[in-house]
Amino acid sequence: MLIHRIEPGGPATSEITDRGLFERRRRLLGLAGASALLGLAPSAWSAGRFASAPRSPLSTAETPNSLRDITGYNNFYEFGTDKTDPPKYAHRLKTRPWTVSVEGLVKRPKVFGIDDLLMFPLEERIYRLRCVEGWSMVIPWIGFPLAHLLKQVEPLGDARFVEFISALDSDTMPGVGMGSLRWPYVEGLRLDEALHPLTLMAVGLYGDILPNQNGAPVRLVVPWKYGFKSGKSIVRIRVVDKQPATAWNQAQPREYGFYSNVNPEVRHPRWSQATERRLGEFGKRPTLMFNGYGDQVAGLYAGMDLRVHF
Protein backbone atom coordinates (compact mmCIF):
# COMPACT_ATOMS: atom_id res chain seq x y z
CA MET A 1 0.00 0.00 0.00
CA LEU A 2 2.38 2.66 1.20
CA ILE A 3 6.06 2.86 0.73
CA HIS A 4 8.00 3.77 3.80
CA ARG A 5 10.23 6.63 2.93
CA ILE A 6 13.30 6.92 5.03
CA GLU A 7 14.28 10.52 5.17
CA PRO A 8 18.01 10.89 5.25
CA GLY A 9 18.71 13.48 7.87
CA GLY A 10 15.17 13.26 9.19
CA PRO A 11 14.63 12.82 12.88
CA ALA A 12 14.88 9.40 14.42
CA THR A 13 11.70 8.07 15.96
CA SER A 14 13.19 8.30 19.42
CA GLU A 15 13.59 12.04 19.01
CA ILE A 16 9.98 12.54 18.07
CA THR A 17 8.33 10.35 20.65
CA ASP A 18 8.51 12.03 23.98
CA ARG A 19 9.88 9.31 26.19
CA GLY A 20 8.22 10.62 29.33
CA LEU A 21 4.88 10.73 27.59
CA PHE A 22 5.31 7.22 26.39
CA GLU A 23 6.00 5.99 29.92
CA ARG A 24 3.09 7.92 31.31
CA ARG A 25 0.73 6.36 28.81
CA ARG A 26 2.11 2.94 29.60
CA ARG A 27 1.44 3.51 33.28
CA LEU A 28 -2.03 4.82 32.63
CA LEU A 29 -2.90 1.79 30.56
CA GLY A 30 -1.66 -0.41 33.36
CA LEU A 31 -3.69 1.56 35.86
CA ALA A 32 -6.80 1.23 33.77
CA GLY A 33 -6.41 -2.52 33.91
CA ALA A 34 -5.93 -2.47 37.66
CA SER A 35 -8.83 -0.15 38.35
CA ALA A 36 -11.04 -2.28 36.15
CA LEU A 37 -10.11 -5.22 38.35
CA LEU A 38 -10.94 -3.26 41.48
CA GLY A 39 -14.14 -1.99 39.93
CA LEU A 40 -12.95 1.63 40.03
CA ALA A 41 -14.10 2.82 36.67
CA PRO A 42 -12.24 5.95 35.56
CA SER A 43 -14.99 6.76 33.08
CA ALA A 44 -18.41 5.51 32.15
CA TRP A 45 -17.03 3.05 29.58
CA SER A 46 -13.98 1.65 31.25
CA ALA A 47 -13.53 -1.64 29.48
CA GLY A 48 -11.72 -0.45 26.37
CA ARG A 49 -8.08 -0.04 25.54
CA PHE A 50 -8.18 3.76 25.86
CA ALA A 51 -10.44 3.87 28.89
CA SER A 52 -7.95 5.95 30.82
CA ALA A 53 -7.81 8.76 28.28
CA PRO A 54 -8.89 11.91 30.13
CA ARG A 55 -12.02 13.65 28.97
CA SER A 56 -11.24 16.91 27.20
CA PRO A 57 -12.99 20.07 28.39
CA LEU A 58 -13.87 20.60 24.71
CA SER A 59 -16.40 17.77 25.09
CA THR A 60 -20.12 18.40 24.97
CA ALA A 61 -22.16 17.42 28.01
CA GLU A 62 -24.81 15.86 25.75
CA THR A 63 -25.47 12.15 26.07
CA PRO A 64 -23.62 10.11 23.45
CA ASN A 65 -25.52 7.88 21.07
CA SER A 66 -25.41 4.16 21.69
CA LEU A 67 -22.50 2.14 20.37
CA ARG A 68 -25.07 0.22 18.33
CA ASP A 69 -26.19 3.36 16.52
CA ILE A 70 -22.67 4.72 16.06
CA THR A 71 -21.39 1.45 14.60
CA GLY A 72 -24.55 0.40 12.74
CA TYR A 73 -25.41 3.45 10.64
CA ASN A 74 -22.41 4.63 8.65
CA ASN A 75 -21.59 6.53 5.53
CA PHE A 76 -18.37 5.01 4.23
CA TYR A 77 -18.90 4.68 0.50
CA GLU A 78 -15.80 2.56 -0.05
CA PHE A 79 -17.84 -0.24 1.49
CA GLY A 80 -21.16 0.57 -0.20
CA THR A 81 -23.74 3.33 -0.25
CA ASP A 82 -26.22 1.81 2.18
CA LYS A 83 -25.81 2.80 5.83
CA THR A 84 -25.59 -0.87 6.78
CA ASP A 85 -22.94 -1.76 4.18
CA PRO A 86 -19.91 -0.53 6.19
CA PRO A 87 -20.90 -2.54 9.30
CA LYS A 88 -21.26 -5.58 7.03
CA TYR A 89 -18.08 -5.27 4.98
CA ALA A 90 -15.57 -3.02 6.73
CA HIS A 91 -14.20 -5.88 8.84
CA ARG A 92 -12.31 -6.93 5.70
CA LEU A 93 -10.09 -3.87 5.89
CA LYS A 94 -6.67 -4.70 7.31
CA THR A 95 -5.83 -1.94 9.75
CA ARG A 96 -2.43 -3.30 10.77
CA PRO A 97 0.22 -2.71 9.68
CA TRP A 98 -0.81 0.85 8.81
CA THR A 99 1.12 3.95 8.01
CA VAL A 100 0.19 7.56 7.52
CA SER A 101 2.58 9.49 5.35
CA VAL A 102 2.68 13.20 6.13
CA GLU A 103 4.30 15.04 3.25
CA GLY A 104 4.22 18.03 0.94
CA LEU A 105 5.15 21.53 2.01
CA VAL A 106 6.68 20.52 5.32
CA LYS A 107 10.14 20.74 6.72
CA ARG A 108 10.21 17.20 8.08
CA PRO A 109 8.04 14.80 6.10
CA LYS A 110 7.42 11.63 8.03
CA VAL A 111 5.73 8.27 7.79
CA PHE A 112 3.93 7.51 11.01
CA GLY A 113 3.17 3.92 11.90
CA ILE A 114 -0.11 3.45 13.70
CA ASP A 115 1.78 2.78 16.94
CA ASP A 116 3.63 6.08 16.54
CA LEU A 117 0.25 7.80 16.38
CA LEU A 118 -0.93 6.08 19.53
CA MET A 119 2.00 7.68 21.33
CA PHE A 120 0.41 11.12 21.07
CA PRO A 121 -1.33 11.98 24.34
CA LEU A 122 -4.84 10.69 23.75
CA GLU A 123 -7.95 12.30 25.13
CA GLU A 124 -11.66 11.73 24.96
CA ARG A 125 -13.61 14.29 22.96
CA ILE A 126 -17.38 14.00 22.97
CA TYR A 127 -18.46 15.79 19.81
CA ARG A 128 -21.66 16.34 17.92
CA LEU A 129 -21.61 14.94 14.39
CA ARG A 130 -23.96 16.51 11.86
CA CYS A 131 -24.45 14.72 8.55
CA VAL A 132 -25.48 16.71 5.49
CA GLU A 133 -28.38 14.26 5.16
CA GLY A 134 -30.11 15.88 8.09
CA TRP A 135 -29.30 13.54 10.97
CA SER A 136 -26.88 13.90 13.83
CA MET A 137 -25.24 11.89 16.59
CA VAL A 138 -23.08 12.52 19.65
CA ILE A 139 -19.90 10.46 19.61
CA PRO A 140 -17.26 9.98 22.32
CA TRP A 141 -14.11 9.95 20.22
CA ILE A 142 -10.62 9.11 21.43
CA GLY A 143 -7.86 10.98 19.68
CA PHE A 144 -5.38 13.80 19.60
CA PRO A 145 -5.43 17.22 17.96
CA LEU A 146 -4.22 17.17 14.37
CA ALA A 147 -2.17 20.27 15.25
CA HIS A 148 0.14 18.11 17.39
CA LEU A 149 0.97 15.98 14.39
CA LEU A 150 1.35 18.92 12.01
CA LYS A 151 3.69 20.66 14.42
CA GLN A 152 6.04 17.68 14.27
CA VAL A 153 6.38 17.95 10.50
CA GLU A 154 6.60 21.76 10.51
CA PRO A 155 4.56 23.18 7.63
CA LEU A 156 6.54 25.60 5.44
CA GLY A 157 5.73 29.24 4.87
CA ASP A 158 3.80 28.75 1.63
CA ALA A 159 1.56 26.00 3.08
CA ARG A 160 -2.13 26.97 2.80
CA PHE A 161 -4.20 23.79 2.80
CA VAL A 162 -4.06 20.23 4.05
CA GLU A 163 -5.25 17.32 1.97
CA PHE A 164 -6.39 14.04 3.54
CA ILE A 165 -6.29 10.89 1.46
CA SER A 166 -8.17 7.80 2.55
CA ALA A 167 -7.17 4.20 1.99
CA LEU A 168 -8.11 2.59 -1.30
CA ASP A 169 -8.08 -1.16 -1.69
CA SER A 170 -10.52 -2.55 -4.21
CA ASP A 171 -9.97 -6.10 -2.94
CA THR A 172 -11.48 -5.35 0.43
CA MET A 173 -13.75 -2.45 -0.51
CA PRO A 174 -16.84 -3.57 -2.43
CA GLY A 175 -18.02 0.02 -2.91
CA VAL A 176 -15.15 1.34 -5.00
CA GLY A 177 -16.04 -0.63 -8.11
CA MET A 178 -19.35 1.14 -8.45
CA GLY A 179 -17.94 4.41 -9.65
CA SER A 180 -20.03 6.49 -7.30
CA LEU A 181 -17.21 8.84 -6.25
CA ARG A 182 -13.66 9.39 -7.41
CA TRP A 183 -11.26 7.20 -5.49
CA PRO A 184 -9.33 7.46 -3.33
CA TYR A 185 -11.52 9.62 -1.16
CA VAL A 186 -9.89 13.00 -0.74
CA GLU A 187 -10.84 15.69 1.72
CA GLY A 188 -9.22 18.96 2.62
CA LEU A 189 -9.05 21.81 5.09
CA ARG A 190 -7.51 25.22 5.12
CA LEU A 191 -4.29 25.11 7.16
CA ASP A 192 -5.77 27.26 9.95
CA GLU A 193 -8.79 24.94 10.12
CA ALA A 194 -6.47 21.94 10.28
CA LEU A 195 -4.50 23.55 13.12
CA HIS A 196 -7.63 24.46 15.08
CA PRO A 197 -7.69 22.80 18.52
CA LEU A 198 -11.07 21.19 17.79
CA THR A 199 -9.73 19.33 14.75
CA LEU A 200 -9.08 15.81 15.90
CA MET A 201 -7.31 12.71 14.66
CA ALA A 202 -9.45 9.93 16.11
CA VAL A 203 -8.15 6.47 16.86
CA GLY A 204 -10.96 5.24 19.05
CA LEU A 205 -14.46 5.69 20.37
CA TYR A 206 -16.24 4.73 23.56
CA GLY A 207 -12.84 4.19 25.15
CA ASP A 208 -11.85 1.49 22.72
CA ILE A 209 -10.14 1.02 19.37
CA LEU A 210 -11.97 2.62 16.45
CA PRO A 211 -14.29 0.12 14.74
CA ASN A 212 -13.49 -0.31 11.04
CA GLN A 213 -16.82 1.07 9.85
CA ASN A 214 -16.04 4.32 11.67
CA GLY A 215 -12.77 4.82 9.81
CA ALA A 216 -10.17 2.67 11.55
CA PRO A 217 -7.40 2.85 12.36
CA VAL A 218 -7.20 6.63 12.18
CA ARG A 219 -9.59 9.27 10.86
CA LEU A 220 -10.17 12.96 10.89
CA VAL A 221 -12.96 14.58 12.94
CA VAL A 222 -13.94 18.18 12.21
CA PRO A 223 -17.01 18.71 14.35
CA TRP A 224 -18.20 22.04 12.90
CA LYS A 225 -18.40 20.69 9.34
CA TYR A 226 -20.73 18.19 7.72
CA GLY A 227 -19.61 14.63 8.36
CA PHE A 228 -18.21 13.94 4.90
CA LYS A 229 -15.42 16.47 5.53
CA SER A 230 -13.93 14.09 8.09
CA GLY A 231 -11.99 11.56 6.03
CA LYS A 232 -11.80 7.98 7.28
CA SER A 233 -8.98 5.41 7.28
CA ILE A 234 -6.39 8.01 6.36
CA VAL A 235 -3.12 6.93 4.72
CA ARG A 236 -1.71 10.21 3.48
CA ILE A 237 -1.76 13.81 4.64
CA ARG A 238 -0.39 16.37 2.21
CA VAL A 239 0.35 19.95 3.11
CA VAL A 240 -0.18 22.00 -0.06
CA ASP A 241 -0.48 25.54 -1.36
CA LYS A 242 -3.66 25.13 -3.45
CA GLN A 243 -7.18 24.22 -2.42
CA PRO A 244 -7.44 20.44 -2.83
CA ALA A 245 -10.04 18.91 -5.15
CA THR A 246 -12.27 17.12 -2.65
CA ALA A 247 -14.48 14.10 -3.27
CA TRP A 248 -18.02 15.42 -2.82
CA ASN A 249 -17.19 18.85 -4.14
CA GLN A 250 -16.00 17.24 -7.35
CA ALA A 251 -19.01 14.95 -7.57
CA GLN A 252 -21.59 17.73 -7.11
CA PRO A 253 -20.01 21.18 -6.81
CA ARG A 254 -23.30 23.02 -6.46
CA GLU A 255 -24.41 20.89 -3.53
CA TYR A 256 -21.19 20.42 -1.61
CA GLY A 257 -18.79 23.30 -1.23
CA PHE A 258 -15.17 23.04 -0.19
CA TYR A 259 -15.89 24.50 3.24
CA SER A 260 -19.13 22.63 4.00
CA ASN A 261 -19.45 24.21 7.41
CA VAL A 262 -22.67 23.22 9.14
CA ASN A 263 -24.89 26.15 8.25
CA PRO A 264 -28.67 26.17 8.74
CA GLU A 265 -28.97 29.15 6.41
CA VAL A 266 -27.52 27.58 3.30
CA ARG A 267 -30.18 25.57 1.51
CA HIS A 268 -29.53 22.16 0.15
CA PRO A 269 -31.66 20.75 -2.71
CA ARG A 270 -32.28 17.44 -0.95
CA TRP A 271 -32.30 17.93 2.80
CA SER A 272 -33.28 20.84 4.98
CA GLN A 273 -30.24 22.09 6.85
CA ALA A 274 -32.36 24.19 9.19
CA THR A 275 -33.24 21.21 11.39
CA GLU A 276 -31.85 17.79 12.12
CA ARG A 277 -32.91 14.51 13.65
CA ARG A 278 -30.67 13.50 16.51
CA LEU A 279 -30.70 9.74 16.12
CA GLY A 280 -32.51 8.16 19.01
CA GLU A 281 -34.87 11.12 19.35
CA PHE A 282 -38.30 11.57 17.87
CA GLY A 283 -38.91 14.88 16.19
CA LYS A 284 -36.30 17.33 14.99
CA ARG A 285 -34.19 19.98 16.61
CA PRO A 286 -32.89 23.19 15.08
CA THR A 287 -29.43 22.92 13.54
CA LEU A 288 -26.93 25.31 15.06
CA MET A 289 -24.51 27.45 13.07
CA PHE A 290 -21.15 25.65 12.90
CA ASN A 291 -22.92 22.74 14.60
CA GLY A 292 -22.83 24.69 17.85
CA TYR A 293 -19.07 25.31 17.74
CA GLY A 294 -19.42 28.92 16.58
CA ASP A 295 -17.78 30.40 19.67
CA GLN A 296 -14.60 28.54 18.88
CA VAL A 297 -14.51 28.62 15.07
CA ALA A 298 -16.49 31.59 13.75
CA GLY A 299 -13.31 33.67 13.82
CA LEU A 300 -11.78 31.49 11.13
CA TYR A 301 -14.31 32.85 8.66
CA ALA A 302 -14.40 36.51 9.64
CA GLY A 303 -15.24 38.67 6.64
CA MET A 304 -16.19 35.71 4.43
CA ASP A 305 -19.64 35.38 2.87
CA LEU A 306 -20.52 31.85 3.92
CA ARG A 307 -23.37 31.71 1.42
CA VAL A 308 -20.80 31.99 -1.34
CA HIS A 309 -18.16 29.90 0.39
CA PHE A 310 -20.60 27.21 1.53
Binding site: N65, R68, D69, G72, Y73, Y77, T81, K83, T84, E133, W135, M178, S180, L181, A251, Q252, R267, P269, R270, W271, S272, A274, T275, R277, L279, G280, F282, G283, K284
Partner: protein
Protein backbone atom coordinates in the same frame (compact mmCIF):
# COMPACT_ATOMS: atom_id res chain seq x y z
CA UNK B 1 -61.26 -18.60 -15.95
CA UNK B 2 -61.46 -19.15 -12.18
CA UNK B 3 -64.88 -19.55 -10.60
CA UNK B 4 -66.22 -16.60 -8.56
CA UNK B 5 -65.22 -18.41 -5.37
CA UNK B 6 -61.71 -19.03 -6.69
CA UNK B 7 -61.43 -15.45 -7.80
CA UNK B 8 -62.46 -14.31 -4.34
CA UNK B 9 -59.74 -16.48 -2.82
CA UNK B 10 -57.14 -15.12 -5.24
CA UNK B 11 -58.09 -11.56 -4.42
CA UNK B 12 -57.95 -12.23 -0.72
CA UNK B 13 -54.50 -13.83 -1.00
CA UNK B 14 -53.22 -10.92 -3.07
CA UNK B 15 -54.61 -8.44 -0.59
CA UNK B 16 -52.85 -10.28 2.24
CA UNK B 17 -49.59 -10.11 0.28
CA UNK B 18 -50.07 -6.39 -0.29
CA UNK B 19 -50.74 -5.71 3.37
CA UNK B 20 -47.79 -7.81 4.58
CA UNK B 21 -45.00 -5.23 4.02
CA UNK B 22 -46.91 -2.57 5.94
CA UNK B 23 -47.44 -4.98 8.84
CA UNK B 24 -43.79 -5.94 8.71
CA UNK B 25 -42.69 -2.32 8.96
CA UNK B 26 -45.11 -1.72 11.78
CA UNK B 27 -43.83 -4.74 13.71
CA UNK B 28 -40.18 -3.93 13.02
CA UNK B 29 -40.64 -0.34 14.17
CA UNK B 30 -42.48 -1.50 17.29
CA UNK B 31 -39.74 -3.96 18.23
CA UNK B 32 -36.89 -1.57 17.33
CA UNK B 33 -35.54 -3.61 14.44
CA UNK B 34 -35.15 -0.79 11.96
CA UNK B 35 -31.67 0.35 12.91
CA UNK B 36 -30.50 3.75 14.04
CA UNK B 37 -32.93 5.78 11.93
CA UNK B 38 -36.31 4.07 12.04
CA UNK B 39 -38.18 7.10 10.71
CA UNK B 40 -36.11 7.06 7.55
CA UNK B 41 -36.44 3.28 7.22
CA UNK B 42 -40.24 3.41 7.47
CA UNK B 43 -40.63 6.41 5.16
CA UNK B 44 -38.44 4.83 2.53
CA UNK B 45 -39.93 1.37 2.89
CA UNK B 46 -43.47 2.67 2.39
CA UNK B 47 -42.33 4.76 -0.60
CA UNK B 48 -40.67 1.70 -2.12
CA UNK B 49 -43.88 -0.32 -1.84
CA UNK B 50 -46.03 2.50 -3.22
CA UNK B 51 -43.82 2.52 -6.31
CA UNK B 52 -43.63 -1.27 -6.60
CA UNK B 53 -47.41 -1.66 -6.36
CA UNK B 54 -47.93 1.11 -8.89
CA UNK B 55 -45.67 -0.71 -11.34
CA UNK B 56 -47.33 -4.02 -10.53
CA UNK B 57 -50.68 -2.43 -11.37
CA UNK B 58 -49.27 -1.49 -14.75
CA UNK B 59 -48.20 -5.11 -15.29
CA UNK B 60 -51.78 -6.38 -15.33
CA UNK B 61 -52.68 -5.38 -18.88
CA UNK B 62 -49.55 -6.86 -20.52
CA UNK B 63 -49.88 -10.03 -18.46
CA UNK B 64 -53.55 -10.33 -19.32
CA UNK B 65 -52.75 -10.15 -23.03
CA UNK B 66 -49.77 -12.43 -23.03
CA UNK B 67 -51.33 -15.08 -20.86
CA UNK B 68 -54.79 -14.56 -22.35
CA UNK B 69 -56.18 -14.40 -18.81
CA UNK B 70 -58.87 -11.73 -19.03
CA UNK B 71 -59.85 -12.21 -15.40
CA UNK B 72 -56.59 -10.62 -14.25
CA UNK B 73 -58.33 -7.31 -14.88
CA UNK B 74 -60.40 -7.99 -11.80
CA UNK B 75 -57.26 -7.63 -9.67
CA UNK B 76 -56.09 -4.36 -11.14
CA UNK B 77 -58.21 -1.91 -9.21
CA UNK B 78 -57.31 -3.52 -5.91
CA UNK B 79 -53.59 -3.27 -6.70
CA UNK B 80 -53.97 0.35 -7.69
CA UNK B 81 -55.80 1.19 -4.50
CA UNK B 82 -53.16 -0.49 -2.34
CA UNK B 83 -50.47 1.47 -4.20
CA UNK B 84 -52.34 4.62 -3.25
CA UNK B 85 -52.70 3.48 0.36
CA UNK B 86 -48.94 2.97 0.55
CA UNK B 87 -48.36 6.41 -0.95
CA UNK B 88 -50.72 7.82 1.68
CA UNK B 89 -48.89 5.99 4.48
CA UNK B 90 -45.56 7.19 3.03
CA UNK B 91 -46.85 10.75 3.08
CA UNK B 92 -48.24 10.28 6.59
CA UNK B 93 -44.88 8.98 7.79
CA UNK B 94 -43.23 12.05 6.29
CA UNK B 95 -45.72 14.55 7.70
CA UNK B 96 -46.04 12.93 11.11
CA UNK B 97 -42.86 11.02 11.98
CA UNK B 98 -40.38 12.95 9.86
CA UNK B 99 -41.58 16.57 10.03
CA UNK B 100 -43.98 16.28 12.97
CA UNK B 101 -46.56 18.61 11.36
CA UNK B 102 -44.05 21.39 10.87
CA UNK B 103 -46.07 22.87 8.01
CA UNK B 104 -43.51 25.60 7.28
CA UNK B 105 -40.83 22.98 6.80
CA UNK B 106 -43.20 20.83 4.73
CA UNK B 107 -44.12 23.67 2.38
CA UNK B 108 -40.48 24.65 2.16
CA UNK B 109 -39.65 21.08 1.13
CA UNK B 110 -42.44 20.96 -1.47
CA UNK B 111 -41.37 24.29 -2.96
CA UNK B 112 -37.60 24.02 -2.78
CA UNK B 113 -36.59 20.37 -2.81
CA UNK B 114 -37.15 19.11 -6.35
CA UNK B 115 -37.51 15.47 -5.34
CA UNK B 116 -40.24 16.34 -2.87
CA UNK B 117 -41.96 18.64 -5.37
CA UNK B 118 -42.12 15.68 -7.72
CA UNK B 119 -43.28 13.28 -4.98
CA UNK B 120 -46.04 15.70 -4.16
CA UNK B 121 -47.10 15.95 -7.81
CA UNK B 122 -47.15 12.17 -8.00
CA UNK B 123 -49.43 12.05 -5.03
CA UNK B 124 -51.69 14.74 -6.50
CA UNK B 125 -52.08 12.65 -9.65
CA UNK B 126 -52.93 9.55 -7.65
CA UNK B 127 -55.71 11.19 -5.62
CA UNK B 128 -58.34 11.40 -8.38
CA UNK B 129 -57.55 7.82 -9.37
CA UNK B 130 -58.14 6.54 -5.85
CA UNK B 131 -61.22 8.72 -5.48
CA UNK B 132 -62.82 7.22 -8.59
CA UNK B 133 -62.05 3.62 -7.84
CA UNK B 134 -65.47 2.58 -6.54
CA UNK B 135 -68.09 0.86 -8.68
CA UNK B 136 -70.41 3.80 -8.15
CA UNK B 137 -67.82 6.26 -9.45
CA UNK B 138 -67.12 4.14 -12.52
CA UNK B 139 -70.85 4.09 -13.27
CA UNK B 140 -71.13 7.84 -12.75
CA UNK B 141 -68.20 8.66 -14.99
CA UNK B 142 -68.96 6.07 -17.61
CA UNK B 143 -66.40 3.55 -18.81
CA UNK B 144 -64.71 5.70 -21.45
CA UNK B 145 -64.21 8.77 -19.30
CA UNK B 146 -63.11 6.62 -16.42
CA UNK B 147 -60.50 4.94 -18.60
CA UNK B 148 -59.28 8.24 -19.92
CA UNK B 149 -58.89 9.64 -16.40
CA UNK B 150 -57.04 6.56 -15.28
CA UNK B 151 -54.37 7.05 -17.91
CA UNK B 152 -52.98 9.45 -15.29
CA UNK B 153 -51.39 6.32 -13.83
CA UNK B 154 -48.68 6.63 -16.54
CA UNK B 155 -47.44 10.13 -15.69
CA UNK B 156 -47.80 9.25 -12.01
CA UNK B 157 -45.48 6.27 -12.43
CA UNK B 158 -42.98 8.37 -14.39
CA UNK B 159 -42.98 11.06 -11.71
CA UNK B 160 -42.64 8.46 -8.94
CA UNK B 161 -39.48 7.10 -10.56
CA UNK B 162 -38.16 10.65 -11.03
CA UNK B 163 -38.91 11.33 -7.34
CA UNK B 164 -36.66 8.40 -6.46
CA UNK B 165 -33.93 9.49 -8.90
CA UNK B 166 -33.77 12.97 -7.49
CA UNK B 167 -33.82 11.71 -3.92
CA UNK B 168 -30.62 9.69 -4.13
CA UNK B 169 -27.33 11.37 -3.46
CA UNK B 170 -25.16 9.54 -5.93
CA UNK B 171 -25.87 5.84 -6.26
CA UNK B 172 -28.64 5.62 -8.87
CA UNK B 173 -28.63 1.85 -9.33
CA UNK B 174 -31.87 1.27 -7.45
CA UNK B 175 -33.96 3.93 -9.22
CA UNK B 176 -32.45 2.71 -12.49
CA UNK B 177 -33.99 -0.70 -11.93
CA UNK B 178 -37.42 0.86 -11.51
CA UNK B 179 -36.85 3.13 -14.50
CA UNK B 180 -36.00 0.10 -16.64
CA UNK B 181 -39.12 -1.75 -15.49
CA UNK B 182 -41.28 1.28 -16.20
CA UNK B 183 -39.68 1.79 -19.61
CA UNK B 184 -40.58 -1.81 -20.44
CA UNK B 185 -44.17 -1.38 -19.31
CA UNK B 186 -44.65 1.85 -21.26
CA UNK B 187 -42.68 0.55 -24.22
CA UNK B 188 -44.89 -2.46 -24.69
CA UNK B 189 -47.94 -0.20 -24.79
CA UNK B 190 -46.34 2.04 -27.41
CA UNK B 191 -45.49 -1.03 -29.41
CA UNK B 192 -49.08 -2.21 -29.32
CA UNK B 193 -50.30 1.17 -30.42
CA UNK B 194 -47.93 1.21 -33.35
CA UNK B 195 -49.05 -2.28 -34.28
CA UNK B 196 -52.71 -1.41 -34.03
CA UNK B 197 -52.16 1.56 -36.33
CA UNK B 198 -50.24 -0.60 -38.76
CA UNK B 199 -53.02 -3.16 -38.69
CA UNK B 200 -55.63 -0.51 -39.49
CA UNK B 201 -53.50 0.82 -42.32
CA UNK B 202 -52.92 -2.54 -43.95
CA UNK B 203 -56.57 -3.52 -43.54
CA UNK B 204 -57.60 -0.67 -45.84
CA UNK B 205 -54.69 -0.95 -48.20
CA UNK B 206 -52.75 1.91 -46.64
CA UNK B 207 -55.11 4.48 -48.16
CA UNK B 208 -57.21 5.41 -45.15
CA UNK B 209 -55.98 7.72 -42.39
CA UNK B 210 -55.40 6.29 -38.90
CA UNK B 211 -58.30 6.74 -36.48
Amino acid sequence: MPSPAQLGAIRLALLALCVAPALWFFAAAWTDHLGANPVEAVTRGLGDWALRLLLLTLCITPLRRWLAWPWLLKLRRMLGVTAFVYALLHLAAYVWADQFFDWDAIFDDILHRPFITVGFLTFVLLVPLAATSTNAMIRRLGGRRWQKLHRLAYPAAILAVLHFFWMVKLDIREPLVYAAALAGLLGVRLYWRQQARGAVRTSCGGRCSPP
